[in-house]
Symmetry: C2
Subunit: 452 residues, 2 copies
């Protein structure tokens, strides 16, 4: 009996029209990464479970997809009554959960061959067992660039340009590149005399977008910050002004915070480097409320939002001081960014920014009249392809209406008809599928016209 | 304690130099597929296990990687003492084993949106729990093109051209595109009066390359073919001659075999279509010994071998009459081909065919002298990038030797030095890293030179 097929929850098929749009996004970002000197790597979909476990917190560990061992996987099983204990006994491998941990593993395993500082980009799928919901998938794509082995802040400035150039090339007109530094968050904590509450402060501030100022204050109080400190903190992070005014404002507040001063010095250096670089369409906002949830960031942090559509952040990134330490290579500093491909796709759809170029179809579809006409058509088809022109012939001598419907759905720019009349004259009917205009042309004229 | 990282057996990391070569292969094939009117799709890495089970034989079923259900996977477990029965109870999803079954599922699920005949290509990883060995991996890549919904033999002729063009563009000079038809194998069986032994005959002939004629005869006898029939069969398949001579020879033998005659007629039609098309470097060999192991082929079958290196077939393909029947949509005929990317990679490496273009590095690396020079360098760097020139700056004011070593390892075509002297003259030192030649040029002159 025939089986009604389905795909797993939270996964997607990508049909051609979606593929073409996705390729446009990825090709655009990839070409910018390459231009800035980043090189591609890929890692396997499967990692040893031990490489992934413990890197993403308890919640992350639960969401990792584990792969059942081949053959008699029960041989080594001890805990047949406890799924959590049994899992690592019957599943030694797991699916990649992000690109950062596999990259760290790659760097450690290939450290003798790598040309440091290593600028790599990586565009691959990752898998997470999250509950699927709108815009959240169990298979999705990350598009990362990182450099490891240098603490130069030139990279920080360069990443601003990469965001700016790639998003502008994708067609976005109004977006903000938000930047801050974890050391400035340290500065806040020290300035309000609560340096031991650093992580609580980060977590609370990170929720500002969702819960507002009163919500952050509530959270800070729950985390046992004195009310005076909480109020002072909120006053700091809501200071309004230009990037330079914010730096001057914080400089006074951080007089006694070494970490805060370091953060300000780093921000100034990044801005000074970036000032030498061409700007595109994005604004660069020193965002005093930026915190970023991930605990491993230690320096610069980034987040990009579009102001044209209501949507969370479309890019993120930051500097981390010890990416590879867990795999036995301490002291390598790195900084990296990531484009949220799925969200960017949704933004470009909503703004209608996938223009016709993206959806380019076939250039020419030849009509099939069968018989001798078909043989000449195949010869012409081969000549078009030799000339680099994407083209095809309808495979059967079907009714013209059917053949034209196919051509339209394939976004053919032209159709070419070689009927009996055309066989004798050597002039073929080239029809522009947009304007409807039709011309009788020789093969040479057609090639000249289409290669324009 | 730090963990010594490793990757699963049979999987690979791809560092930049390997990625660039692989991208060259995939981009070349992709561009040919596109030019012939094929459109990309992608399907998820995870499929429901039930979609895959039973499609690849018992051995295949064992080699499918299964994914442990999330959460308390033991809830539904009944057979805690039998791995084979337990697996489907605790693993509902599995990793893609090939691209053909997911494509069939895709066609059935999207049949109302698809523009038939549907010409699609798909380049994705697949996973198999085979024992890893030289040239055989647990994660490898398939690069398929198929058309479904037409029985026109124009596609058969077109696929010959696709093999021919793509492999020629990859740099191969001497390769054979072997073609035959499953109906001709039917013809053999009927001509020797053993039509019920069709599958045995296919299986035995398929081993000719490995076991030779005597081995095939032995296998046929073991499969209970009469010796006279076996001898007659061997005589047929070893007939030597041109493609036309072979067709004429078989035509006589197949006088009483409808299927054999149909096979010959199809071969003639494919050759007639292909004769209209431009040829590249490959030869087209009607191969009487070609059988192809896969049982689902019903018409044309292909195999491509290189004659420059000892290596198995580097491409395969064929026509199948009922790809989607198992998912409830019978009667769709299809034909498809596949490039063996890993083997092609090995062949091109052995023949030294990845030329310098493939390994193109960065165009310019700017030397970092720090201070004011650095600021001007960043400005120049930004101008180079604006002009589309891939470029980077060494991130620290390191020793020149270190900076040049980095540039060399990045395959930089040029280095650009802007020291104190150059700051005052506005002429920067552009050094050709191959010839060693150095010139003092203005930014405009540099841009003109590099955009040549």
């Amino acid at each position: 009996m025939a089986q009604k097929p389905s795909i797993p929850k939270g996964t997607r098929d990508f049909p051609p029209e979606v593929m073409l749009r996705r390729e446009f996004i990825l090709d655009t970002i990839r070409s910018v990464y390459k231009k800035y000197g980043y090189q591609p790597i890929e890692t396997p979909a499967m990692e040893n479970l031990s490489v992934l476990t413990g890197k993403y917190g308890d919640e992350g560990d639960r969401l990792i997809f584990k792969i059942l061992n081949s053959g008699d996987f029960l041989k080594k099983a001890q805990h047949l009554d406890d799924a959590q204990k049994l899992a690592p006994e019957i599943a030694e491998k797991a699916l990649r959960y992000d690109l950062t941990v596999p990259f760290a593993r790659f760097v450690v395993m290939n450290q003798n061959e790598i040309n440091f500082p290593f600028k790599r980009y990586q565009i691959q799928a990752v898998w997470r067992g999250d509950r699927p919901q709108k815009g959240r998938y169990r298979e999705f794509f990350q598009c990362d660039a990182d450099v490891v082995g240098s603490d130069s802040l030139i990279f920080e400035a360069e990443f601003i340009s990469i965001y700016d150039e790639a998003l502008s090339k994708l067609g976005l007109k109004d977006f903000s590149i938000r930047i801050s530094n974890r050391k400035i968050l340290n500065g806040y904590a020290e300035a309000v005399g609560q340096s031991e509450k650093f992580q609580d402060i980060c977590t609370a501030i990170d929720k500002l977008d969702k819960v507002g100022e009163s919500g952050v204050k509530k959270e800070l109080l729950e985390r046992e910050l004195p009310e005076a400190a909480a109020d002072q903190l909120l006053q700091m992070i809501t200071f309004a002004g230009s990037n330079d005014e914010k730096l001057a404002y914080l400089e006074k507040l951080f007089e006694k915070s070494e970490s805060g001063k370091k953060g300000i010095a780093e921000m100034r250096e990044v801005f000074a480097f970036h000032k030498q670089m061409e700007s595109f369409r994005g604004t660069i906002d020193f965002d005093l409320t930026l915190a970023r949830g991930l605990t491993y960031y230690t320096g610069t942090i980034y987040e990009v939002v579009t102001n044209e559509v209501q949507m969370g952040s479309i890019c993120g990134g930051g500097r981390y001081d010890n990416l590879t330490g867990v795999f036995g290579k301490p002291g390598l500093s790195g900084v990296g960014i990531s484009f949220g491909v799925d969200r960017i796709y949704d933004v470009l759809m909503e703004l209608n920014l996938f223009d016709e170029r993206v959806m380019d179809g076939i250039q020419v579809m030849l009509i099939n009249f069968g018989g001798e006409s078909l043989m000449t058509s195949l010869k012409v088809l081969s000549s078009l392809r030799q000339a680099g022109i994407s083209s095809e012939i309808y495979p059967d001598e079907a009714k013209l209406k059917k053949q034209f419907t196919y051509a339209n759905r394939k976004n053919a720019a032209f159709t070419l008809a070689i009927g009996d009349d055309e066989l004798s004259t050597g002039k073929y009917q080239l029809k522009d599928m947009i304007s409807g205009e039709q011309q009788a042309l020789s093969l040479e004229e057609i090639l000249a016209r289409l290669k324009e």
